[in-house]
C-alpha cells in the first residue's frame, strides 16, 4: 500500500512538472525578475547609465509623483464611466434577449461579436469612426448639421471616446453573463410577484435583481480588473493624449519602461498596480462572502 502511495506520488510529480515549469517560466520568474528590477536603476537604451541597486527609490519616486496620482485618477474615472454604462446596458440587453421573441437567438450571437475582436482592432475601428476630418462619425453627423467634433483630440471628449469604444466591446460580456443567470432563474417567484399585482419594474427591482446580484458582482469585478489594465484601445486611439487626459496607469508604466527606458521605475509601477489589483480582488471576495440580508 505504502509502495503504491509512493509510486502514485512520483507519477503525480512527473505529471505536475511540465505545468509547474511553464508556470515558473512564464509567470513566477518574470514576476521575480520584475521585483528585482524594481529595486534597481536599469536603463535599457542608455547602456552608460550604471545598473545599480537603488533600494526603495523607484517606489518613492512613483508614490510621490503627481503624474502617477493623475494616472490613477484617470484610470478610476474611466473605470467608473465604462462599468456603470456596461452594467445598465448589459442588464437591459440581457433582459431583452432572454424574452421569447423571434430573432433573439441571432441577436444574441451577433451582439457577442465585439467581445471576440482584439482590442487593437477595436481601437482601429473606432479610430476610423472618430478621425476628425475623414471619420465616419463626423461624416454622418454632418447630415444633421452637427460637428465636426475632435473626438479623440479634444480634452472634453477624448476620455468619453475611449469609454464608448470599451463599452461597445465589453457590454456583450455583461449581457452574456446576465442572460445566463436570467435563464437559470426559477419561474415561481416571478409568477407569485405578478399575481400580487407588482409592476414589471417592481418585479425586476425586487425579484430579478436580488437573485442575479452575485452574478452581477462577479461580472463587475472581472470587468473592473480588466478596466484597470486597459491599454490597447488607448494606445491606438490617443496614446494618453491630448495633454494627459487619457493617461491611464498602463500608459504610465509603458512610457516609463519603453519611452524613457527606465525599466526599474516601470517595474516598480507595475508592482504598485499589482497591489491595487490585489486589494480590488480581496474586496471582491469579501463582498461575495457577505450575506446580503445582513447588510
Amino acid at each position: 500500500m505504502a509502495y503504491i502511495r509512493k509510486r502514485n506520488r512520483k507519477i503525480f510529480l512527473i505529471f505536475m512538472m511540465p505545468a509547474v515549469l511553464v508556470l515558473f517560466g512564464t509567470t513566477i520568474y518574470p514576476m521575480l525578475y520584475a521585483g528585482y528590477l524594481s529595486f534597481r536603476s536599469y536603463d535599457l537604451a542608455k547602456l552608460f547609465v550604471p545598473r545599480v541597486y537603488v533600494g526603495w527609490a523607484n517606489y518613492r519616486e512613483i508614490l510621490s509623483s503627481s503624474e502617477f496620482l493623475h494616472t490613477l485618477i484617470v484610470t478610476f474615472k474611466l473605470m467608473a464611466m465604462t462599468l456603470s454604462v456596461q452594467l445598465v446596458l448589459g442588464v437591459g440587453i440581457a433582459l431583452l434577449v432572454t424574452q421569447r421573441l423571434p430573432g433573439m437567438g441571432v441577436a444574441r450571437t451577433l451582439l457577442l461579436i465585439p467581445m471576440m475582436i482584439s482590442p487593437v482592432i477595436v481601437g482601429l475601428v473606432w479610430l476610423f469612426l472618430y478621425f476628425p476630418e475623414l471619420g465616419y462619425l463626423n461624416y454622418f453627423l454632418s447630415f444633421l448639421g452637427l460637428g465636426p467634433y475632435a473626438w479623440i483630440t479634444s480634452t472634453d471628449w477624448a476620455l468619453w471616446a475611449i469609454a464608448i469604444a470599451d463599452i461597445w466591446q465589453w457590454t456583450p460580456f455583461v449581457m452574456m453573463g446576465t442572460a445566463a443567470a436570467l435563464t437559470n432563474l426559477s419561474p415561481e417567484p416571478f409568477e407569485a410577484a405578478k399575481l400580487d399585482g407588482n409592476s414589471p419594474f417592481d418585479v425586476f427591482w425586487r425579484v430579478t435583481l436580488p437573485q442575479i446580484r452575485p452574478v452581477l458582482i462577479s461580472l463587475m469585478f472581472l470587468r473592473a480588473i480588466d478596466a484597470f489594465k486597459i491599454y490597447d484601445i488607448i494606445f491606438v486611439l490617443t496614446k494618453g493624449g491630448p495633454g494627459d487626459t487619457t493617461e491611464v496607469l498602463s500608459m504610465f508604466i509603458y512610457r516609463q519602461s519603453f519611452t524613457f527606458w527606465r525599466m526599474g521605475v516601470g517595474a516598480a509601477a507595475s508592482f504598485v498596480s499589482l497591489v491595487i489589483i490585489v486589494v480590488l480582488i480581496t474586496l471582491f471576495f469579501k463582498s461575495l462572502n457577505r450575506d446580503p440580508h445582513q447588510a
Partner: protein, 467 residues
C-alpha cells in the same frame, strides 16, 4: 587571354558600379535594414534588387512608422545577436546610440572612400549631424531643414493682396517674422461659404497647420525650430542642464499657442504627416515643416496642391526678422556595430550605393526626389526649376545649426511633448509653467551625472572626416 577578359569585364562592372563592389562580391551576405516608411527609404526600397545584381548581397528593408521605430532600434542594439545589420537613423538619436556603442564608426571608411562618395559635394552640416564626439556614426540619405511652405497662388492673388494690405497695412508676402506669420494665418482662416481667391469655399480653410500632437513628441519637432528662430538653445553651456525654458522657448510656445485658433479643429492630434496632409491637399495657407516631405508638394501623384494651385517656399520666420541659423536634420543609414565584419563591408557598400550622388540625381530626375544633400544637385538650375525649394535648402544650410543630439533626446522629446501639448490644450495655465515643468523633469534625470559628463554630451567637436 582568359584572365585578361575576366579583368576587362570586372573592370567594366567596377566602372559601372562607380567602384562600389565587384559583381558577386557579397554573394554570401544577407542584409536586413530596420527602417522608416518615409521618402528616405521608400524611394530606395523598390530598387534594392539592383544592388543585389551588382554585388550579390540580398537586402531586405523592413519599414515601420516613425513612432516606435527608435524602440525597435534600441532593442536591436541591446541584443547580442543582431537581426538587422543596417539601421535607419534620425540624427537626434546619434547621441544615445553613439554613447551606447550601438553604431559602427564610419569615419575611417568615409575618409578612405572620400573621392568615390563625393564627400566634398555633401553639405557639411549634413555630415556633422551624424557625428557623436566627432566620429561619424551614420551617413545621410536625406538632408532636412525646417522651413515654411505657403500657397503661392493665394499670396499672389490680387484680391487677397489688396484685402490683406487694407487689413494689416503691409504687403502680403511670405512671413519674415512670427508676428507676420500669425497675421497671415488669421487672414486666411475662412469658413465654408466664404470667398477665397474669388471662389466660394465648400469647406473650412485654415490659415495654418502645425504639429501639436504629443505622440512621439510631434509638437516638439515644430517647437524646437521655432525656439531656434528666436535664438534659443537646448542646453546651458555652463552646466549642461536644460535651457529650454528661457525667453526664446517662451516666445516659441506663445507663437504656437496664438496659432491654435487658425489651425484645424483637431490640432491637438496633428502629427507631422497629418499636418503636412493639410498643405498637400491645399487646405491651409501656410505650414512650416521639415523639408523631408516638401518634395510631395511638387508631385501631382502625391499631393492635390500642384493640381489646384502652387506651393511657394521660404526660410523659417524669425523673432525679429533678422536671420537666425535654421535647424537642420539628417535622415541617415548606419551600421549595427554587432554585425560581422563581412556584413559591415556589405552594409557600407549598400550605404554608398543607396546614398550616392548618382542615385540622388536619379530620384530627382524621376520626380520622386528625397530631400537632397549634395551641393551640386541643390544648385542645379534644371532641378531648381523643377523643385523650387532647393534654393531655400541650399541657402539656409549655409548657416544652419545642428539639431539636438543629446543621449537623453527621447526623454526631452517625450517630456516636452506632453507638457507643451497640455499647455496647448489649456490644461496648463502658462507657457512658463509648462516649460519649467519639462525642464525640471529633464534636469532631475541629468543631475545624477557629473557636470563634465553633461558638458561632454552637449559638446559638438568638428567631425574628424573633415580633418
Amino acid at each position: 587571354m582568359k584572365h585578361f577578359k575576366t579583368l576587362v569585364v570586372a573592370g567594366a562592372v567596377s566602372l559601372v558600379c562607380g567602384g562600389l563592389a565587384s559583381a558577386g562580391e557579397f554573394d554570401d551576405v544577407e542584409l536586413k535594414m530596420l527602417a522608416i516608411g518615409d521618402t528616405s527609404v521608400t524611394r530606395l526600397a523598390p530598387i534594392v534588387g539592383e544592388f543585389e545584381e551588382l554585388t550579390g548581397a540580398k537586402v531586405q528593408i523592413d519599414q515601420f512608422p516613425y513612432p516606435g521605430l527608435i524602440d525597435k532600434i534600441v532593442i536591436e542594439a541591446s541584443a547580442n545577436t543582431p537581426s538587422y545589420q543596417l539601421m535607419w537613423v534620425d540624427s537626434p538619436w546619434v547621441g544615445v546610440l553613439g554613447e551606447s556603442g550601438a553604431l559602427e564608426d564610419l569615419t575611417d571608411l568615409v575618409k578612405r572612400d572620400a573621392a568615390e562618395i563625393n564627400l566634398d559635394d555633401i553639405v557639411p552640416i549634413q555630415l556633422q549631424e551624424n557625428t557623436w564626439q566627432g566620429r561619424l556614426l551614420a551617413f545621410p540619405a536625406s538632408g532636412m531643414i525646417w522651413h515654411q511652405n505657403y500657397r503661392k497662388d493665394l499670396y499672389e492673388h490680387p484680391d487677397e493682396q489688396a484685402a490683406f494690405k487694407a487689413k494689416y497695412g503691409y504687403d502680403l508676402a511670405p512671413a519674415q517674422t512670427w508676428d507676420q506669420y500669425i497675421d497671415i494665418a488669421e487672414f486666411f482662416t475662412r469658413k465654408a461659404g466664404d470667398t477665397l481667391a474669388g471662389e466660394t469655399l465648400e469647406k473650412d480653410f485654415y490659415g495654418n497647420a502645425q504639429a501639436y500632437s504629443r505622440v512621439a513628441g510631434a509638437i516638439t519637432h515644430d517647437f524646437f525650430p521655432i525656439m531656434r528662430s528666436f535664438g534659443g538653445q537646448y542646453w546651458d553651456p555652463e552646466t549642461g542642464l536644460c535651457a529650454m525654458d528661457g525667453e526664446a522657448a517662451l516666445a516659441a510656445a506663445e507663437v504656437m499657442k496664438k496659432l491654435v485658433a487658425f489651425n484645424p479643429p483637431d490640432y491637438l492630434g496633428l502629427m507631422w504627416d497629418i499636418r503636412t496632409g493639410y498643405m498637400e491637399r491645399g487646405e491651409t495657407a501656410q505650414s512650416s515643416y521639415w523639408s523631408v516631405r516638401t518634395v510631395r508638394l511638387t508631385n501631382p501623384d502625391e499631393a492635390v496642391l500642384p493640381t489646384i494651385g502652387e506651393a511657394g517656399y521660404a526660410p523659417s520666420p524669425t523673432g525679429d526678422g533678422n536671420a537666425q541659423p535654421t535647424m537642420t536634420g539628417a535622415l541617415s543609414f548606419g551600421i549595427n556595430s554587432k554585425a560581422t565584419e563581412r556584413e559591415k563591408e556589405a552594409a557600407w557598400a549598400f550605404i554608398k550605393w543607396g546614398t550616392s550622388r548618382d542615385m540622388m540625381r536619379r530620384f530627382a530626375n524621376e520626380g520622386s526626389g528625397v530631400s537632397q544633400f549634395h551641393k551640386s544637385i541643390l544648385s542645379d538650375a534644371g532641378l531648381q526649376e523643377k523643385y523650387p525649394y532647393y534654393q531655400v535648402l541650399l541657402d539656409t544650410q549655409e548657416n544652419a545649426q545642428r539639431r539636438i543630439f543629446h543621449p537623453f533626446y527621447a526623454d526631452v522629446e517625450e517630456v516636452f511633448g506632453v507638457e507643451l501639448n497640455k499647455y496647448m490644450a489649456g490644461e496648463t495655465e502658462s507657457a512658463q509653467e509648462a516649460l519649467t515643468n519639462a525642464c525640471t523633469k529633464i534636469n532631475t534625470r541629468l543631475k545624477v551625472f557629473p557636470q563634465d559628463m553633461r558638458l561632454r554630451w552637449i559638446a559638438d567637436p568638428k567631425a574628424e572626416i573633415f580633418n
